[in-house]
């Protein structure tokens, strides 16, 4: 029986030492002092009897039976050793950021709702607690200052009684009387968080070499920002520095376009809105603080555990008595995701504070939905000004210029990264020989924006796909032909001057979209729809995008162990975000071991000591010299751990388990099979055949090849354990737009793997570290690539528009996806279906005002924020078509984000097809459509 064991014990990370900010991993002995809390049930039945296929998700049973798998489920009594006495905390969030905040007016709560304790900025100052590093901000607005942003916390209230907390939270909703305010003041500082300029001029061939590109010449930032917050770029100089050359070539591109030398120029001004992630579980966590031991314990549900605990370490590293912390014990719920909204969220810092100010108690800090809207990260709103120069005769794209700005709100998060990812993907699936794209991450008093599915590319590629549709209509060209004509082909260089990884299959995706019934039958569908719906017009829209995946610095840690009776245990540090990474990882092990992992533990943080990893520097900014120096130490890696984000679940997080399983197969199961097959006189059944590793095949759960007797995993495992062969492998891998490879001496051979650290088990539980003899980290230059791993996705949307009300009704969606080799096809199509619904919401329904009357005022909830319900989605007419991989060796590609994107521009293009209105401001509300008509 397969099972998923979900112990809090392994999903925990301890940090300690004199300098917490530097992170020091404790020894296993201290970890073992913890009492295990096995509070999640096993998952019976998820795999078939032979465990060679799956029936459902590893965590499926737990989720349909209401098991405790979310951070919000956990209480002190669930965690061994935590105080049973509970306190409850709530944040007081400023609904305004224009006036001076003078302090709290607690009497406004009423006598019966006075908190048991309160903490404010003064308390943090007195204890020398401060957010630094990534979260460099004032955690509480200081009296006498203007809040940095709408929704900035001003205080935390504590209640020891649960019912009183709930009453207080109800009273706090939309309550402005609790704040003492002074005069209106201008924002203190709105200097942008950063800006980039990506300029590229191709040489004679799309395959390169380029005349100028970010890859060749380096990334370019501005010299400074004007008072108006506009970036000031380098002085144009063809022979000057990289920034000066960028200005020279970029200005030249724009001058030529303006002069009509590049063809007909299509200009577009496109706006996208701020939206909320609306992950269904509002952020919540527990904390407890043992002042005598200086130990702070946390229970969190996040996407980036190591980064979060680093941030908590930064928070307390200079703390004065009685808030000093010598040890942080982080526990993590088995689900950590939320479409990016729980990646580098600031909420855990407040959970940590809640613990520090309630010593001896377990404190729960849980946002209600109003607070989640008010404090939670948002999707960046974009202003995009596109210009695309096209040969009006041939339809060839000649030059592209774009200026985009994304609004990061009032606290730095990932805004500069969102800006550059949006910029470097702005040309969508197209090749353009000359391009000049500027991207600015602006600061404002809006609720802070951060990572969210699509990460800037949703915005920029939506704009581009609408612009291309506009061009096709204007030039009278077929929308598929125009796209195919300009598609980025294999080896062609992208906006940064780099070739995409692997074959480009965008044209295939376009072909499949065009062949689909929704497009082929569009005339009849239109006639039928309009006959059945008087007053409504049918339209059809198409769009196709290729979205990058990977973060340019991604790490994976995994171990696979085989017991003597053939049970496979998998540990991974990947975070289950709901997309099914645990299931996919279990499945991917089967590529080499013939069947799924029997036990799957995700989010494992404290089981990697055997690798003895060391690191230094910043993986994204390291020099080649420093990397080369580090590489001389066989323990050194550029990055030990990274968040599960950027669609890396399939591509990176399941890579580690696959590599570990390969080592077991190659140096454990294969020699074990040879041993068994070779028994008997003159080499037994194998004696007369040429048996080699490449001939090995798993057939119906048994290993065979070259006509040898099929062997069960149990037989092989027993032999491998008896003979001291490899029965377990622990690995670390690193990807910087390319995999690290290293050579390891093992089994008398030199084995090259796409990992940089390896430890093995040989018939026991003990791990033996194998030092690599050679390593090839991706060049530091690769950081300039910006983007090279892509998955392509296209959508055809049929929709109806009410000509009077402007209401849009999405009738059918046909989506075509190319994602390499899907590990679990049911998971892939399910994620795609969800992406389509989210795209429909983004295109038509979801919208948050950035400032006044927006979510920062604390009055927003799902009664006024429209998340698509089933009636808004063509539930029965949604088809997802996944291209077959080119071969079974295709890598799985990250597809969690790309699948929500094409439906958005396809809807906008469909609206134009239906009623002739070009909506360039999201969402396409009935009001905007009516006005456009």
């Amino acid at each position: 029986m397969s099972q998923s064991v979900q112990l809090w014990t392994r999903r925990r990370l301890l940090i300690a030492g004199g300098a917490l900010g530097a992170i020091e991993f404790l020894k296993p002995g201290l970890v073992s002092a913890f009492t295990a809390d096995n509070i999640s049930p096993v998952a019976p039945g998820w795999a078939n009897p032979k465990n060679t296929d799956i029936n459902y998700r590893v965590d499926g049973y737990a989720k349909v039976t209401g098991a405790k798998i979310y951070a919000s489920d956990v209480r002190g009594t669930d965690l061994g050793g935590w105080p049973n006495d509970m306190s409850y905390a709530t944040l007081v969030l400023s609904p305004q950021a224009e006036k001076t905040y003078l302090g709290l007016n607690l009497p406004a709560l009423g006598d019966d709702l006075q908190p048991d304790r309160v903490i404010t900025a003064d308390d943090l100052d007195a204890a020398a607690l401060a957010a630094t590093g990534f979260f460099d901000t004032d955690l509480f607005c200081k009296p006498g200052t203007v809040p940095l942003y709408l929704g900035q916390p001003v205080a935390m209230l504590f209640y020891d009684d649960l019912a009183t907390l709930h009453r207080a939270q109800q009273v706090l909703i939309g309550n402005s009387t609790i704040f003492k305010l002074g005069d209106a003041q201008p924002p203190a500082d709105e200097t942008p968080y950063g800006a980039y300029r990506f300029t590229r001029v191709a040489g004679d061939s799309p395959l390169g070499p380029d005349v100028y590109s970010p890859l060749l010449d380096g990334w370019v930032g501005p010299r400074r920002f004007r008072v108006t917050e506009a970036p000031v770029w380098g002085k144009p100089d063809a022979t000057g520095t990289a920034p000066e050359q960028a200005s020279y070539y970029g200005d030249q591109i724009r001058t030529e376009m303006k002069a009509g030398k590049s063809g007909k120029v299509y200009a577009q001004s496109f706006q996208t809105q701020s939206i909320d992630h609306v992950f269904m579980e509002p952020e919540a966590g527990l904390a407890t603080y043992d002042a005598n031991k200086g130990k702070l314990s946390l229970m969190l549900g996040v996407q980036s555990p190591q980064a979060i605990l680093t941030a908590v370490g930064n928070l307390v590293k200079s703390a004065k008595p009685p808030k000093q912390v010598g040890e942080i014990d982080g526990h993590f719920a088995s689900l950590g995701g939320g479409f990016g909204g729980k990646d580098h969220t600031i909420m855990p810092l407040y959970i940590a504070l809640a613990g520090l100010y309630s010593p001896g108690r377990t404190v729960r800090l849980a946002l209600n939905r109003y607070q989640q809207f008010q404090l939670g990260l948002k999707r960046h709103a974009f202003q995009i000004d596109n210009q695309l120069a096209v040969d009006p005769e041939t339809g060839q794209f000649n030059a592209y210029a774009c200026d985009l700005t994304c609004n990061g709100g009032g606290r730095a998060n990932f805004s500069t990264v969102v800006a550059h990812v949006g910029a470097t993907n702005a040309s969508s699936i197209y090749y353009v020989p000359k391009s000049d794209v500027t991207a600015t991450a602006s600061k404002s008093i809006a609720v802070p924006a951060g990572s969210m599915r699509g990460f800037g590319t949703l915005q920029t590629m939506t704009a581009m796909e609408c612009l291309v549709d506009e061009i096709a209509v204007d030039l009278g060209k077929d929308p598929f032909d125009l796209r195919r004509q300009n598609v980025l082909q294999t080896g062609y260089l992208n906006l940064t001057g780099n070739a995409a990884s692997g074959a480009s299959r965008s044209a295939e995706v376009l072909d499949r979209m065009e062949q689909g019934a929704l497009w082929q039958n569009r005339a009849q569908d239109k006639a039928d729809y309009e006959a059945a719906n008087p007053g409504k017009t049918y339209g059809i829209g198409v769009a196709c995008v290729m979205k990058d995946y990977g973060g340019g610095g991604d790490a994976t840690r995994a171990s696979v162990s085989l017991s003597p009776d053939g049970k496979i245990t998998l540990h991974s540090d990947g975070v289950e975000m709901g997309t099914g990474l645990s299931t996919a990882s279990a499945r991917r092990v089967g590529d080499y071991l013939g069947r799924n992992a029997d036990v799957v533990e995700m989010f494992v943080q404290g089981a990697w000591d055997a690798l003895r990893l060391e690191t230094s520097g910043n993986a994204w900014a390291i020099t080649q010299a420093d990397q080369d120096k580090g590489a001389q130490n066989p323990r050194w890696v550029p990055l030990i751990a990274s968040p599960t984000g950027a669609s890396v679940g399939a591509s990176v997080n399941s890579h580690g388990p696959a590599q570990a399983a390969y080592v077991i197969m190659r140096y454990g199961l294969y020699p074990a099979a040879r041993s068994i097959w070779g028994e008997g006189p003159l080499g037994g059944e194998a004696g007369a055949e040429f048996v080699t590793f490449d001939k090995m095949r798993w057939v119906d759960g048994k290993l065979t090849g070259v006509g040898m007797e099929p062997l069960t995993l149990e037989q092989l495992a027993a032999r491998a354990h008896r003979d001291g062969l490899v029965t377990g492998a622990m690995v670390h891998g690193f990807n910087r737009w390319s995999w690290t490879t290293a050579i390891f001496p093992i089994g008398g051979e030199s084995l090259t793997l796409a990992i940089d650290a390896l430890a093995i088990q040989q018939g026991s539980d003990e791990w033996s570290l194998i030092d690599r003899t050679e390593v090839n980290f991706p060049s530091a230059q690769f950081e300039k690539v910006g983007v090279n791993y892509y998955a392509t996705c296209g959508a055809v949307v049929g929709l109806g528009v009410d000509k009077v009300s402007g209401e849009v009704d999405v009738q059918a969606v046909y989506q075509v996806l190319e994602c390499g080799r899907p590990i679990v096809p049911d998971l892939v199509s399910g994620i795609a279906q969800g992406g389509i619904a989210m795209g429909i919401g983004y295109a038509l329904h979801e919208d948050l005002p950035l400032y006044q009357e927006g979510p920062g005022d604390g009055t927003w909830n799902l009664n006024r924020y429209h998340v698509p319900k089933s009636l808004n989605v063509p539930v029965w007419k949604t088809i997802v078509d996944v291209l077959d991989p080119l071969s079974e060796t295709d890598p799985p590609k990250g597809m969690g984000e790309v699948v929500m994107i094409p439906v958005v521009p396809a809807i906008l293009n469909g609206i134009h097809d239906a009623v002739g209105a070009r909506i360039n401001s999201l969402p396409a509300t009935p009001d905007k459509i009516r006005k456009a008509l």
Binding site: K63, T65, H166, R369, G578, L862
Partner: protein, 172 residues
């Protein structure tokens, strides 16, 4: 403050001293320790917090627990998501959802389990034409919000389950 007792998942619970304004979801989560019922919007829109209630006449309905006080469930027979599987065996609705990979994060799943089960029970009393099954699923589940799945697999799971049980439909 009231002395509250009820039946939850077939077991008598209480009496508990419970304030009149304590939401049922908090009572379930924090007093009874049944955290399968989820708090999400808190205003009765998303329906992640839905539980099943057996009415005095034996009929099955659903109620939202984030907007209803616990005391309003006094003496009721309530089934939460924890109460559907028996001896480790999933109910038909639970099994249909996992077999169809219906959910992803799963935070909305308890509401869908209860709503789907209530729908099956209602159809058992009043079968629908086979041609109306998709509409029945829409009516039964359509108010529930799921952010991950796009609803497709939840709905297909329920449709296929209903069509596979001849007692739930009639020939049109």
């Amino acid at each position: 403050m009231a002395k509250l007792k009820m039946t939850v998942n077939g077991k008598a619970v209480g009496p508990h001293d419970v304030p009149d304004d304590l939401p049922m979801v908090v009572y379930l989560n924090d007093i009874l320790g049944l955290t399968g019922t989820k708090f999400s919007c808190g205003i009765g829109v998303c329906r992640a917090c839905v539980v099943m209630v057996e009415e005095p006449d034996g009929s099955i309905t659903t109620r939202r627990t984030c907007i209803a006080g616990a005391t309003s469930f006094a003496d009721s027979k309530v089934t939460t998501v924890e109460g559907h599987a028996t001896h480790g065996q999933l109910s038909a609705v639970q099994q249909a959802y996992v077999d169809n990979f219906a959910f992803q994060c799963g935070y909305c799943t308890s509401g869908f389990v209860n709503a789907g089960t209530a729908l099956v029970e209602q159809l058992r009393e009043n079968p629908v034409d086979k041609s109306q099954v998709e509409q029945a699923v829409q009516t039964g589940l359509g108010d529930h919000i799921c952010r991950c799945s796009g609803y497709v697999r939840y709905f297909e799971a329920m449709r296929d389950l209903i069509l596979s049980d001849t007692t739930l439909t009639k020939e049109g």
